[in-house]
Assembly symmetry: C2
Homo-oligomer: 200 residues x 2
């Protein structure tokens, strides 16, 4: 008996993206299989190409979906303290990376191996995360934190995010004697340290 | 007339490594050609394999040589001020990356695309650079800078180096309104900002 379910095109597209995100969590992007995906979604390859155009287009849409998931997971909470908002977002980042480790590492590797379209998705996702810090604060609030909203400071914020990524991946791999609270607190303080250094 | 020159095995090995470093500055590692190298060095492929075992072994030896070059280029100067020593080394790093850009970017891409042996060369080179900061200072000097010599602090120093790498590559690509002096001063200050955050 067929279990094929009739979905609207929009719902079908969503379902395929979710399956794609799950698949990227299980195997390297190189081994991403349209056949396996069509099988899992109980649709034909042809229909999959109808929705996404090509395997490359589909992979990019899946990576964008993953980046959107990270962006949503790390949204600033409603708290008057910038320090608290940063800490909560950094903790959410750390937990999201832990929960999506295989897929995220695949994404990073693909971005760094010279695939320029994937690299652009990665860089714009990273810029969105750090620009949000500036855009969710008043100039006074940033100034009280020792930070100016200048292009050079936003540039350093993006590179600070590269440092955070490196710290978090290393910490997940080998936590040493550092608790989650300690690593989150250290990373939160480091933002002021880095952005203060270039705001001066 | 043959221009082949008789070299000692040690000198020949050095010559081949230098040619390899130059070649990595000119083309992606994927396109690294043993034939072209043997031609440039006026030796046979067989002799090249005699010195290095395999193409992979040769590429790794070349990348280690490149990493050694960076380590030497950024050696701390003899100055009583830690801040001055850091600034001079960071400036030397920035200039070395600018002068070795193509090869260095190839190295990074190879390290990040999942080639574990190259990644190990990259990570140990990076750890050597940041461990030297701690090893060239007394505990008192570090303390005066707000830094403790703890494993967690050394871990953050390695990730700070990832941030520096990202800043420097971005800056070389698009300097915006930042002079070399400004970028070097900002990066120097950021080290204390980051390591102070995790020393606390």
């Amino acid at each position: 008996m067929s279990t094929r379910i009739r979905l609207t095109p929009e719902d079908r597209r969503e379902q395929l993206l979710e399956l794609g995100v799950a698949m990227i969590g299980e195997r390297p992007i190189d081994e991403f299989s349209i056949d396996a995906l069509a099988h899992d979604a109980s649709i034909s390859r042809g229909l999959l190409y109808h929705y996404f155009g090509s395997k490359q287009d589909f992979v990019r849409a899946v990576l964008r979906r993953m980046a959107d998931g990270l962006f949503e997971a790390t949204a600033p909470v409603d708290d008057p303290s910038l320090e608290v908002r940063l800490r909560v977002s950094i903790q959410a980042y750390l937990r999201w990376v832990g929960a999506n480790l295989t897929g995220y590492v695949s994404f990073l590797q693909e971005a760094q191996r010279g695939n320029n379209e994937v690299r652009d998705i990665y860089l714009s996702a990273r810029a969105a995360l750090t620009d949000r810090i500036f855009d969710s604060c008043s100039a006074e609030e940033l100034a009280a934190y020792g930070i100016s909203d200048l292009p050079r400071v936003r540039m350093f914020a993006r590179s600070w995010a590269a440092m955070v990524e490196d710290v978090v991946l290393n910490w997940i791999n080998d936590p040493q004697d550092l608790s989650e609270d300690e690593i989150v607190a250290s990373l939160t303080r480091s933002l002021a340290g880095v952005l203060g250094a270039v705001s001066a």
